[in-house]
């Protein structure tokens, strides 16, 4: 697995995801600067990390979505390459049109950082093969604008095509009661049509060791590490 992590000015969880990828894959991901025009040859996975790209003063992810490097990300995705957007990365993916919908201010109007349970959706994707369907995992959330909103048709389509990757839930698996930010259908992450682009608000990269909260986030990186693209 060759991975590249894009750093925008204002990204701040790039180190966390680089550490998670390094540990899961045994390889050092390549760091890409936002002004770069190309991805390294043979890149399998592009990660858009968490943070506050360009300060996020206009709308979260709005300026990053128009950064030079995003054309290369679009091309990569169009060819079926893997793209993972976490938190601010998810916001950038929806702003750039790679994923549908929009992430609005949390319903409680406050930034929330806490441990959060998620229910894993399908597991036949490059991102979730190490989990079991319906598994409840505990990861971290840390966002002020993670309230997923889309029009009724889009939601119906996401549900119909089984493209909801993760839903917020309680430790017992109750989705509605476990929704921290008002997201429609308790959506915490979604796939693109071809399942090669995943955007999610929670931070699996912060849950990769027992010492620091737990290891439920590891599965995502282990899934990616195990993934081999069909020749």
């Amino acid at each position: 697995m060759k991975s590249a992590v894009i750093t925008f000015p204002g990204s701040n969880r790039e180190g966390d995801v680089i550490r998670a990828l390094r540990r899961a894959t045994g390889h050092e991901p390549v760091s890409i600067w936002h002004q770069d025009m190309d991805l390294p040859q043979g890149t399998d996975l592009v990660v858009l990390p968490g943070g506050f790209s360009y300060g996020d003063y206009l709308r979260c992810g709005a300026i990053a979505a128009r950064a030079p490097v995003m054309d290369a990300v679009r091309t990569h995705a169009a060819k079926g390459g893997l793209v993972l957007g976490i938190c601010n990365g998810f916001q950038i993916l929806v702003e750039s049109g790679l994923l549908p919908g929009v992430l609005m201010r949390n319903a409680g109007l406050k930034f929330i950082c806490k441990m959060q349970h998620l229910k894993v959706g399908r597991t036949d994707t490059p991102f979730t093969s190490a989990y079991s369907e319906g598994q409840i995992i505990k990861v971290a959330i840390a966002h002020g604008e993670g309230n997923y909103v889309a029009d009724t048709d889009t939601i119906a389509r996401l549900e119909g095509e089984n493209r909801v990757a993760f839903r917020y839930c309680t430790a017992e698996g109750n989705t509605k009661a476990g929704n921290p930010n008002g997201s429609l259908n308790d959506i915490a992450g979604i796939y693109s049509e071809r399942l090669n682009v995943l955007g999610m608000m929670p931070h699996p990269e912060n849950l990769i060791e027992t010492l620091v909260g737990g290891i439920d986030g590891r599965g995502l990186f282990e899934s990616l590490s195990a993934f081999r693209r069909a020749a």
Partner: protein
């Protein structure tokens, strides 16, 4: 030099300079100062920059230890933490700005302290804060809490540093003057620390960061002026924080430092360009010449006076190696930062400021700092309060009821509502989250880590400043011990009232003496600090609040300790002596409704012996949970351990022979509660405790209180309290209060 407008007594007073201080200026420069010079003097000689009321007393603080690399006097303190690494840290107040505009006041407070740390070449890895608000009933309190918490989060979350700990208290004495103390902690290589001292004549002085606007002009002066009811009119001087610019500045500075091109660096904090330039020159025995035409300005038509006093945020000043200018420029451009060469170092020892071809200031650079007024202000000692006899203070409620009320009281209630708004998990190294005794943060890939805490009990400091000062340091020490750390050094943030009033000056003097005594006794020196005076509203001072930020080293974070009960059927032990001390306690204030009596004294010899004992118990794996006892005493400590672990406890009748409420809620110092998993471990602990007593140095007591288990906490003679009931009482108060339901 042009001298308009004329320097009138009114103008001098507006600059916060007393007539004798102005006379000192005239003597020093031998002529009338220009307006720009007057501004420069007022900024350099105010309380915030010159420590003119406190300097004399601060000199008595212990600041040295073999592990101290840099003590007070630089942007932040530096200690050696082993493996070639250094920890750089400091705490600073942003009290007055936060009262006027809570969100921006808090953001710029966090921004300023982060800059102090990365200016020295350290990457920030954690922040903490200590907040004091007025009474919950005061009409402004809710708004201030909401704004300050959002501001601290808004800045730290975006900048990308975890906010891992802090404290928050309420008291009517802060009604018109809240306290916002922020602490930043960074890591650098111990041989790559950067200082403010300029070297070399003719080297370029480079300005880096955000453009200069008119914000915060006279912010540093404002921070040293007492509030009256016209405070609301001071709004325009509040600065606005830009965490994005700060993040760019951080990355650019650290990248630049690696190239070896930085000779000296200083952030522009209070008094902005003035104090940073003067400091660089004065420390290096060099003159500085600034050309203000080169300063990147955000607004048109700014005068020399405004540029010299602007407190626009996210700006740095540095002296660069001229041979590496091009390399530096490339880094500034990469990070999209404004920069300009705005002056040079000279051999004249003069601070010369030019604007539009005219000399606006020409002052002796060393004297600006060295000759600042130094006051030995009159002070009186706070009258000693009587020691209360617990037997004569009957409890008005059952102990069960008192516990539920205490853990749901504003000061002791859970602060989850606050710290869930702070990103405390970013960087993936937060081993122990907010809510415990001290936060534990791993350094890099470990195994080493830092134990971080901020502490002070203003109630005690008000009752007895000397004992209160001692206790603040001792509690920081204890919190670090409780998580398995070795206490190394502290930063002190001294928040007091008007030093021109002998009773408040006395609080400052005796608190400093108490801090000094504890630092010496516990081998826990002060390496950085900040003084905030004139904290009062309409003549009534705040509670004396010397906030202590403590740093300890945890050799192996995988072996750090937490307060949560870990398993059923473990023995619960209390280490330390219980005398049932209710004077100035939380119980007395919250349950009996009285704030009186002498606070509990700290015996520093016992404190250190017990601290070392507990450190050894953790290191050798003899205990499974540890919690130090502070506000609310034993009962609150046990409740916190039970809630954190989701495991209850049953406490047998206690052997102290005191009234039950005094045993349960007394606040005797130097005490820890621990759990022990085996008989062998318990025997070993007893042996170690007896061995200390046998040396004759001090009497150390260990008492078995009961055991863990079940889902209730049962106190002697009381009906069991379910963990759910405890949780509800503990967790509900703050969210309900903030929602306006209380």
């Amino acid at each position: 030099m042009k001298n308009t407008p004329a320097i009138t007594p009114e103008l001098i007073a507006q600059h916060g300079l007393k007539p004798d201080e102005y006379q000192r200026i005239l003597t020093l420069i031998g002529r009338e100062p220009t307006l720009t010079e007057l501004g420069i003097f007022s900024a350099m000689w105010n309380e915030h920059c010159s420590y003119k009321s406190s300097r004399l007393h601060l000199r008595g603080l212990p600041t040295k230890a073999p592990w101290v690399i840099q003590g007070p006097g630089e942007n932040a303190g530096v200690i050696d933490i082993g493996d070639g690494l250094a920890c750089v840290f400091k705490m600073e107040s942003h009290n007055h700005p936060s009262y006027i505009e809570p969100y921006q006041g808090a953001t710029t407070g966090v921004g300023g302290i982060l800059r102090d740390v990365f200016t020295m070449g350290a990457r920030p890895i954690a922040t903490l804060n200590a907040l004091r608000f007025g009474s919950p009933d005061h009409p402004k309190t809710r708004h201030l809490v909401s704004g300050v918490v959002a501001g601290i989060g808004g800045y730290g979350n975006s900048f990308g540093v975890p906010t891992v700990g802090g404290q928050m208290g309420f008291h009517s004495r802060y009604d018109g003057n809240i306290l916002v103390n922020a602490m930043a902690v960074g890591i650098a290589k111990s041989d790559e620390i950067f200082y403010a001292k300029a070297t070399g004549v003719g080297n370029p002085i480079v300005y880096l960061g955000s453009k200069t606007g008119r914000d915060g002009i006279h912010g540093a002066t404002m921070a040293s002026a007492a509030f009256d009811d016209s405070a609301d009119e001071k709004r325009p001087t509040v600065q606005v924080g830009d965490p994005f610019a700060e993040k760019l500045l951080l990355e650019a500075c650290l990248e630049l430092m690696k190239t070896g091109s930085v000779i000296a660096i200083q952030d522009m904090g209070a008094a902005g360009l003035t104090s940073s330039a003067v400091e660089m020159g004065a420390k290096g025995d060099l003159g500085i010449e600034l050309d203000l035409d080169k300063i990147p300005c955000r607004e048109e038509g700014m005068t020399a006076y405004e540029m010299m006093l602007s407190e626009s945020q996210e700006r740095m000043l540095m002296v660069l190696d001229p041979a590496k200018e091009k390399q530096a420029e490339a880094i500034f451009i990469k990070w999209g930062l404004d920069f300009a060469i705005v002056g040079k170092t000279t051999d004249t020892l003069r601070f010369v400021v030019k604007h539009k071809g005219e000399v606006m200031a020409d002052l002796p650079i060393k004297e600006l700092g060295d000759e600042a007024p130094l006051y030995d202000r009159p002070y009186v000692e706070t009258p000693k309060r009587p020691v209360l006899d617990a037997a004569k203070i009957p409890s008005p409620v059952s102990n069960r009821e008192a516990l539920l009320k205490l853990i749901g009281s504003p000061d002791l209630a859970s602060k989850r509502w606050v710290w869930e708004q702070y990103d405390h998990l970013i960087l993936g190294n937060t081993v122990q989250q907010p809510g415990g005794d001290a936060a534990v943060v791993r350094v890099g890939e470990g195994p080493r880590g830092l134990a971080l805490t901020s502490d002070v009990t203003p109630r005690y400091c008000d009752a007895d400043p000397f004992e209160g000062g001692k206790q603040a340091v001792a509690e920081a020490y204890r919190n670090i011990i409780a998580v398995g750390g070795t206490p190394k050094a502290i930063t002190d943030n001294l928040n007091f009232g008007n030093p021109e009033r002998p009773e408040y000056m006395g609080q400052l003097v005796y608190c400093i003496r108490g801090i000094g005594a504890a630092c010496a006794g516990l081998d826990f020196p002060v390496v950085s600090g900040n003084v905030s005076l004139y904290n009062e509203t309409n003549g009534l001072g705040i509670l004396p609040t010397p906030t202590i930020g403590g740093v300890g080293v945890v050799d192996d974070v995988t072996k750090s300790m937490s307060l949560a009960f870990k398993a059923e059927n473990e023995a619960i032990i209390l280490i330390g002596e219980t005398t049932g001390w209710l004077g100035s306690s939380s119980w007395l204030a919250e349950i009996a409704g009285r704030e009186e009596g002498a606070p509990p004294p700290v015996d520093l010899v016992v404190e250190k012996l017990i601290g070392e004992l507990v450190h050894g118990l953790i290191k050798d794996g003899l205990v499974t949970a540890v919690h130090d006892l502070s506000d609310g005493g034993l009962a609150v400590g046990l409740a916190e351990m039970a809630m954190a672990g989701g495991i209850g406890a049953t406490i047998a009748a206690m052997p102290f022979g005191l009234p039950a409420h005094a045993e349960l809620f007394g606040e005797d110092q130097a005490r820890y509660v621990a759990t022990v998993g085996s008989k062998d471990a318990l025997d070993e602990i007893s042996r170690r405790v007896s061995a200390i007593t046998a040396t004759g140095e001090a009497l150390v007591l260990m008492t078995v209180l009961g055991k863990t288990g079940g889902k209730t906490l049962t106190l002697p003679g009381e009906s069991p309290i379910s963990l759910d009931e405890l949780e509800q009482a503990h967790e509900n108060w703050l969210p309900a209060y903030m929602a306006g339901e209380l």
